[in-house]
Amino acid sequence: MNRRAPTKEYRELDERFSGTVYASKPLILASALLTLLYFFVLAFWFKIENAYLFTLLMFGQAFFLWQGLNYLHTIWNMEYRAPSDPSFAPAVDIFITVAGEPIDIVEKTVRAALAMDYPDFMVYILNDGYVARKENWKDMEELAKKYAPRVSCLTRTVPGGAKAGNINHALSKTARPFFVIFDADHVPSPDFLKKTMGHFKDPRMGFVQTPQYYVNYAKNEVTRGAWEQQEIYYGAICKGRNRMGTVTMCGTNMAIRREAIMDVGGMCDFNIAEDFITGMFIHERGWKSAYVPEVLAEGLAPEDFLSYYNQQLRWARGSLEVFFKWNPLFRRGLSLRQKFLYLSASGYYLSGLVVIVNALLPLIFFFTGEVPFAVSTMALATVFMPYLFLMIYTLQQSTNYAYTFRALAFSMGSFIIHLQALVDLLVGKKSSFAITSKTRLSGSFLNLAIPHLIYVGIVAAGVTVAYLRTGMTPSLMTNTAWALINIAVFAPFIAAAVQEEMEEERRVRSLSVSVERRRANFAYK
């Protein structure tokens, strides 16, 4: 196969995505049982000390129960593959969405798209550089001319709808029955269309999604963290959702039936997670979806902390909007299973609340001495540890041992992003679509980790206060240990921000010039 150099990394990746990954069913059952047992022991067995704290704690535990059981249900069978007919090869439009990305990155994607092994397709550069006021918007038209006639550039002049608006604009200018979307930096492999289009032999197949792989994942802490978070999603979760006909649309590296998208009125342009909600609408209309668990395109992870922050904020805001404004439970057309899967996916970003609650409980003890339970801490350990260990092992087995501490830390450390998204949503702050930068942005990002650093400071003060109040007690030790866990989990997030800060200082020193601190502003309407 010539689509990728056969490096060790690629082999591992292929194995992880394409190989048979399975989690033993007895293990899943045992894990589910212990998850339930842990929750009910906590809820009904232990004596409540402070009802408010107990309620807060149980809110968090209910969230974990919900997400945990949903995950176990998802990974029950990850081997399902939707039927595909390789001989089915309809005409396809290839959309490469661009909004000011560097020309070399776009050209690489265009060339790879042209190199796809498929009989009938046309490549379109969906150029939003003009409406996004990017200096290089004309370069895209030149690029299209360079590769004409198989490449055409569709430049929008009337803004609106961000990426979704760009795609809808392209849909109005093209006519092939199927189209494929690639972000500007997502380089497709030659067999992308061959591996995906066969699924559309089924006339009810609405869209086919493939993984979003970050080729630059090893570049720095941010790219690693971003990729390792993605890996569990595009591995275990997408494979499991494939079985249940609820593949989430991810906005790139996907093929869509034009009829399906027109059935829902085009790409949804009133939510910044346009892909997620469009996928849900397509499912509502009874269209099917499929997931091809092979890396068929290579993209770029956010290389700097601010880009990562913005990407997460966009995803969180979009998903939470779905949760609160288009709650899947009340959507007609979705099956019950689809409702719960979409609810779980959109509600994932409520985890910010849960993280902050869990982080606050030790602090409340330090300063007030109040605890949720009047129970021996060892009794809690006895029910908590087996549940935790089994869940971690199940997680590792189901992801083919790909999940990492860094991924966990980035997920939990992003609590402040999730909270910001929630608050913005609740106060009705207007959201803007911010494209994830394809190049490294410079600037100071330590401020993004200030809440985490403040937490460390409060813990230090709290431990001191509690020690002065009660002396060295087992309760103080236990709560200190919980606080230390939070700090340790926040550490990679802080470290990534600090690393950015230090690298920036080095750059400034080496240039010996005053560098104007620039902030990314890819926002466009």
């Binding site: 591992e12 390792e228 021996s376 801490t377 060892m378 009794a379 350990a381 006895t382 908590f384 540890m385 935790l388 260990f389 971690i392 092992y393 997680l395 590792q396 041992y401 790909a402 999940y403 990492t404 501490f405 991924a407 966990l408 060295m472 007690t473 087992p474 309760s475 030790m477 236990t478 200190t480 240990a481 919980w482 230390l484 866990i485 340790a488 989990v489």
Partner: protein, 514 residues
């Protein structure tokens, strides 16, 4: 699968002798030094004195006595012949246990290498084993626990050898022999075999062909070998003995205490509670194991089963049937914990791994230091000091009353005084059967019988069996207390004046003043 030779080549070491072997030797020397300098001066404890007393009889009598006890006889028989060779002193008897402990150190390293093929993991686990205050304690106690641990290690070594490399006749025969020796060393060696069987059931397809039949053969042989002992016990009508200390029903705290004792040894309640309260850090330990490609080898599953299943079995039996949950009964699971910790730390980034190892070694070393220096340590039973005190203070007209009755063993070993020693409830060890139960209604009658004709009673209370307060209250409310003294945690002496009318002898007054 990478071979050991390949791994060795990767690690740049193909020679048979390695610096790690020197370190293992140094760990053995360290354990020996700790024994000589710290543990050799310990007073004989109750269990030790029982071992000495039981093994001091003829072989047939040993079988008879041990049969009435809660143990199997092999260790006592070995101790019997050992004492014939080296003499009947405490130091010689303890040295037997020390030998098993010292022999376990290189075996631990070999087991770690066989299981994980990782020198650093094996060496670190061996260091934990050698430095462990818990292991050092029982490696210097005249009981079967260090022998039990050694046999468990040997059994793991052979069993994992069969699993990984297949078993020829020699390996299977060795495994069978160790199993038989093991079940005659301690009843709970059956839990080792049970955990191995569970492991076999879980991964039986990974075992070499024919392993199932061979394993069945070993179990059959084991049953045949053990059957005579069961029949012997049946003849003794002693399948459920009750001459041992009464144990409380365990709680979750006891479960965790066992694991904490494996790491920091026996500490006072305050320190132990503080350390155990840090349990949420285990959550962090588990989070940190989340590393790319860090698969869980089956050997880790084996040791996890070996660590948890026996504890679970003992806990369940203790709650449902009869309390038998004591950390020392689980000593054979401690190496599994050390090996698991050693393996887990290899998964961490180098920096985290280094600090994890350093922290754990420091905790163990501190635990060992505190354990050997803390006079109030809960496991320390200073019967020697108590007996010497009574030897110097008692007169022929006095009576020494011991409760619980079985504490007569260590007191008797050291006591050289003129007064008689009796127990409450009264117990005649020469008679077959259980220790008579305490009866509060007959307490006045029992005390009257014991104290009749004596001027003073030296009441030594330890190993509370649930009636210590009743006895003490009875004496407190009827007699004048002359003296009280604590020799170690839970070992208290009370001296009572039973009757007046006679002048104090000068030496009696001197002794009391002292």
């Amino acid at each position: 699968m990478e071979t050991i030779a390949y791994r060795n080549a990767l690690q740049g070491t193909t020679s048979r002798f390695h610096f790690h072997h020197v370190l293992v030797g140094l760990l053995m020397c360290l354990a020996l030094a700790v024994s000589l300098f710290f543990f050799s001066g310990e007073s004989l404890r109750l269990d030790e004195s029982q071992s000495l007393w039981q093994s001091s009889h003829s072989v047939s009598r040993i079988l008879d006595i041990v049969g009435q006890d809660v143990h199997v006889p092999l260790y006592h028989l070995i101790l019997h012949f050992w004492q014939l060779m080296v003499g009947g002193g405490v130091a010689g008897a303890r040295f037997l246990s020390l030998l098993f402990f010292l022999a376990g150190i290189p075996l631990m390293y070999a087991l770690g290498m066989r299981a994980f093929e990782h020198r650093a993991a094996a060496l670190f686990a061996t260091a934990l084993f050698a430095l462990s205050p818990f292991m050092n304690w029982y490696g210097n106690e005249i009981r079967m626990y260090s022998m039990l641990t050694f046999l468990a290690l040997l059994s793991h070594f052979l069993f994992l050898g069969i699993y990984r490399e297949g078993g020829g006749f020699g390996r299977w025969a060795g495994y069978a022999a160790v199993s038989i020796v093991g079940v005659f060393t301690h009843y709970f060696f059956w839990l080792v075999i049970a955990a191995q069987f569970v492991f076999y059931l879980a991964v039986r397809r990974a075992f070499p062909a024919g392993s199932g039949k061979n394993l069945a053969g070993v179990f059959g042989l084991l049953a045949l070998a053990f059957l005579p002992w069961l029949l012997y016990l049946r003849n003794l009508n002693q399948l459920a003995a009750s001459s041992q200390p009464l144990l409380p029903v365990p709680t979750s705290i006891d479960v965790w205490n066992a694991f904490s004792q494996f790491i920091i040894g026996f500490q006072n309640d305050w320190l132990n509670a503080l350390v155990v309260s840090l349990w949420p850090l285990v959550v962090l330990v588990s989070f940190l194991t989340l590393r790319r490609h860090s698969t869980v080898p089956r050997e880790a599953g084996y040791f996890l089963a070996m660590l948890l299943l026996p504890a679970l079995a003992l806990f369940t039996a203790s709650v449902l049937l009869k309390p038998i949950y004591v950390s020392r009964y689980l000593i054979f699971t401690a190496p599994a914990l050390y090996l698991l910790v050693g393996w887990v730390l290899t998964l961490y980034p180098r920096f985290v791994s280094f600090f994890g190892k350093a922290g754990l070694i420091a905790a163990m070393a501190a635990g060992l230091y505190l354990q050997v220096t803390n006079a109030d340590m809960q496991m320390r039973e200073n019967y020697r000091a108590a007996a010497e005190y009574m030897s110097a203070g008692t007169a022929p007209s006095d009576i020494v009353i011991l409760s619980a009755p079985f504490t007569v063993y260590p007191v008797e070993y050291y006591y050289k005084g003129p007064a008689d020693i009796r127990t409450l409830p009264e117990w005649d060890r020469s008679l077959r059967g259980d220790i008579p139960p305490f009866n509060e209604d007959s307490l006045p009658e029992d005390v009257a019988r014991l104290t009749e004709g004596h001027r003073r009673a030296w009441l030594l209370l330890s190993y509370d069996q649930g009636y210590e307060d009743e006895i003490r209250n009875y004496f407190d409310t009827r007699y004048h207390m002359l003296d009280r003294k604590r020799f170690s945690e839970g070992l208290d002496l009370y001296v009572y004046q039973l009757r007046y009318g006679e002048a104090w002898a000068e030496h009696e007054l001197t002794a009391l003043r002292r």
